[in-house]
Symmetry: C2
Subunit: 214 residues, 2 copies
């Protein structure tokens, strides 16, 4: 029996990237989640080329048939995983960004949440970095989507009169780059400094650097 | 006859990393340079695993024996190449940084020179990024050395009273990350914006963000 629980659903709806089918039942969602989590461990431990679908299903505790219900190939699950990690980061930092009283506080909160996410998910660097070689389009999509999101929120803040008017793509890429490298140094390599202190220093720099003077 | 041109030199002096032997003649230097330049093309076109020593020597127009005069293995030439690219970036940006009248101007000039270097050497990203998987120590050394250099010059400027006193490792990693991602977007992916304009926007942000107020 199909894990979609419904014959009509078993073909799934392929995502725009054709990476994964969309589950329409809680059980299907759980299985897909288990496969993606297992894939994160398998790919980060062995790298894409040495990783295997059987290694993923073993870790996930699911049958090989279940894997193929949701993913067509090792490439497909890798592509879905990069997209999933990108979404996880966004979902993890979004509430703190939305709750912040102003845009500098939002960028500060975004960085702090990102650093905390990285400390709990160190494998994200290896996987997204390997995408540059395994699936260049996923790599590009991850960073261009993230930069667009930052640019949009900076420009919205500029429109509200909080930030300098000329804020745009260059500032978005600069902020993303800062965050990625601070995550590498203070999230993946060593946790030798509190995330609050890092976020405070960067926020102070951005506050003076980007905030509009009254 | 050994390309070192001198029997006493033919063993070379291994670098600290054991990656390459040091030529002591102009001819040896030229040969090593030709091999490293050919290796940059070979590794960036095929990736480390598919790249071959014979592909490198063919591109360099040197005999296989000459390769082994200078490098012990494909790993060794890759390690030497990462180190060489790291040094090339440093040497390319250093004069502009030294010539700048103050530290914000120095960071501005450093970014602009870096963007120009990247536009002429787009392969640097693929090679240094692949080092994360092929030779993690080279990858780490490249970024930690670069960040240390930035931190030292920021702290020297703080000691001269130009920058805020608390400038340090976090700011250095933030600046390095900005530069790396601006290089990816505006150097490797597309050259759709003048390097001067990018450097100006970042310098303005840093000037307000890091400069000490009088």
């Amino acid at each position: 029996m199909s894990e979609t629980g419904d014959g009509a659903d078993s073909g799934g709806g392929a995502t725009a990237e054709g990476a994964a089918k969309r589950p329409r039942t809680a059980r299907g969602l759980r299985t897909q989640r288990a496969i993606l989590d297992a894939a994160a461990v398998e790919f980060s431990e062995h790298g894409f080329y040495a990783a295997s679908i059987s290694g993923i299903t073993r870790r996930a505790g699911v049958a090989l048939g279940s894997f193929y219900t949701w993913f067509d190939s090792k490439d497909a699950v890798f592509r879905a995983l990069v997209r999933d990690m990108s979404d996880q980061v966004r979902d993890h930092v979004a509430p703190a960004i939305r709750a912040a009283p102003d845009q500098i506080a939002a960028e500060r909160a975004g960085l702090e949440q990102f650093l905390q996410f990285v400390r709990g998910h160190k494998e994200i660097y290896r996987i997204i970095d390997e995408a540059e070689f395994v699936d260049a389009e996923s790599f590009r999509l991850h960073y261009s989507t993230t930069a667009d999101r930052i640019r949009e929120r900076l420009q919205a803040a500029a429109a509200r009169g909080e930030l300098i008017e000329e804020v745009g793509e260059v500032h978005a890429w600069a902020i993303m780059g800062m965050n990625v490298f601070l995550g590498l140094r203070f999230g993946v390599w060593a946790e030798d400094r509190p995330t609050e202190a890092i976020a405070d220093q960067v926020a102070a720099m951005l506050a003076r650097g980007l905030a509009r003077r009254g």
